[in-house]
């Protein structure tokens, strides 16, 4: 049985310029400037920094690993091949996430899907394919009890998130998986900060209702 690995956030730190023999990480904008001058390694480092969060966002939006990889690849290629249209007055991550999120939402529209299943792709033709496309959580560096709890909570919350409408889902993933500030989420989603807060409040209310049976011990 093929299982997909979704490792801990802290398991793989983003690549930084220390790999280039320098102490401080190079700013994303500086990397973009180097890439625009034809530095291939700058493209490589930008890809290393953002491949996990971009893939992670699209994967949760789509719910199918194979399609998510294709969409993430297309997003990066589109962004890198149009790097000269990036406006440095904004965060590079916002610009990249916006491309990826729009690409994922376009895919959902084309496929006429508003929610995804963590139990496998709705397009899966066979049971094997459905199994291959499941979102499977993997707990790392945790005790067996913590691992069990994380898996149980993770499964419940993943299921609930997959049922949210796409803009709520984007906001929740960016805020709670990628830890992005409200300002950046607003830039990515192209909405005012107040709207982001409203999306998050409504999404959390729906999630709270869906997870109503979960209780923290007083």
């Amino acid at each position: 049985m093929k299982r997909e690995r979704v490792p801990s956030r802290k398991a793989k730190p983003v690549a930084n310029s220390s790999q280039r023999g320098q102490a401080d990480p190079i700013d994303d904008k500086e990397l973009v400037a180097q890439a625009l001058k034809g530095d291939e390694s700058a493209f490589g480092e930008l890809l290393e920094r953002f491949r996990r969060p971009v893939f992670s966002l699209i994967y949760r939006m789509i719910g199918d690993r194979e399609q998510a990889e294709d969409l993430a690849q297309e997003s990066f290629v589109k962004a890198f091949n149009n790097l000269d249209s990036y406006n440095p007055s904004y965060r590079f991550s916002s610009w990249l996430f916006k491309i990826a999120n729009n690409h994922a939402i376009d895919h959902l529209r084309r496929a006429r899907l508003s929610t995804v299943s963590i139990h496998g792709s709705p397009h899966a033709a066979t049971a094997e394919r459905e199994e291959e496309t499941r979102i499977v959580l993997e707990a790392q560096d945790e005790s067996p009890e913590q691992e069990m709890l994380a898996l149980e909570l993770g499964g419940e919350i993943e299921q609930a998130i997959s049922q949210l409408r796409p803009d709520y889902r984007t906001a929740v993933i960016l805020r709670h998986v990628e830890n992005r500030p409200y300002e950046e989420i607003a830039e990515i989603m192209d909405v005012p900060i107040g709207t982001v807060k409203t999306f998050l409040h409504r999404a959390r209310a729906e999630l709270r209702q869906a997870l109503g049976h979960l209780r923290e011990e007083p």
């Binding site: 491949r51 992670s56 290629v77 909570l153 993770g154 209780r215």
Partner: protein, 205 residues
């Protein structure tokens, strides 16, 4: 934001408290109330349960081949383009589309002009095509020999393959230029064959 609704903490207040986003100066009051009020404690517990679940979410990792797959399709800017004004870079990147558009318009013009001339001058079509092909062949050979000589003597031929490999769309633009030139020669031939002269307008009439 008001934190209170009918003597209880509002949902927004409980949510921001559970998310760790409550204002520092509000914290003691919020915490004291949650401890004292059973209703608010139940709701606060639910909110904390939700944020505990959200904290358990983990990122996903693409496959190992992902990096190579992306880099294979990325167009690295070349030295020829680097340092050029932004509009030059944009035009260079769109060169294939621009060339294809120009080529399409040119071909349409040639075909339209040929059809119009043939109809206007009433030249038999087989004869016209035979002369056209004959003249075009002559022009092609003469043009190719002259162009080859110019490129060889000027040394441009040595750097040509590298330019084709590095500058995006240059190959298509080159082909478009060649086809456009040949088309120009063809329409010139067409004009000579039909001996067409535009009607003269007497301004004094």
């Amino acid at each position: 934001m008001t934190n209170w609704t009918n003597g209880h903490l509002s949902e927004l207040a409980l949510e921001s408290w559970a998310a760790g986003e409550a204002e520092a100066h509000d914290l003691p009051e919020l915490e004291n109330h949650v401890q004292a009020c059973p209703d608010c404690r139940v709701k606060a517990t639910e909110w904390r349960g939700l944020f505990l679940a959200l904290a358990s979410l983990r990122g996903a990792e693409p496959s190992e081949s992902f990096h190579d797959r992306v880099m294979k399709e990325v167009r690295i800017p070349t030295e020829q383009v680097v340092g050029a004004p932004a509009w030059v870079v944009k035009v260079a990147r769109r060169a294939p589309r621009i060339a294809a558009g120009v080529l399409g318009l040119w071909t349409l013009g040639i075909v339209g002009a040929a059809a119009w001339l043939q109809k206007t001058m009433d030249v038999p079509l087989p004869m016209l095509l035979a002369r056209l092909l004959n003249d075009a062949e002559d022009a092609l050979w003469a043009g190719a020999i002259k162009l080859g000589a110019i490129l060889q003597l000027s040394g441009l031929l040595d750097g040509w393959p590298e330019a084709f490999a590095n500058v995006p769309g240059l190959g298509v633009a080159g082909v478009a230029t060649l086809v456009s030139t040949l088309s120009g020669l063809a329409i010139w031939t067409l004009y000579r064959v039909t001996k067409y002269e535009p009607p003269r307008i007497d301004a004094h009439a």
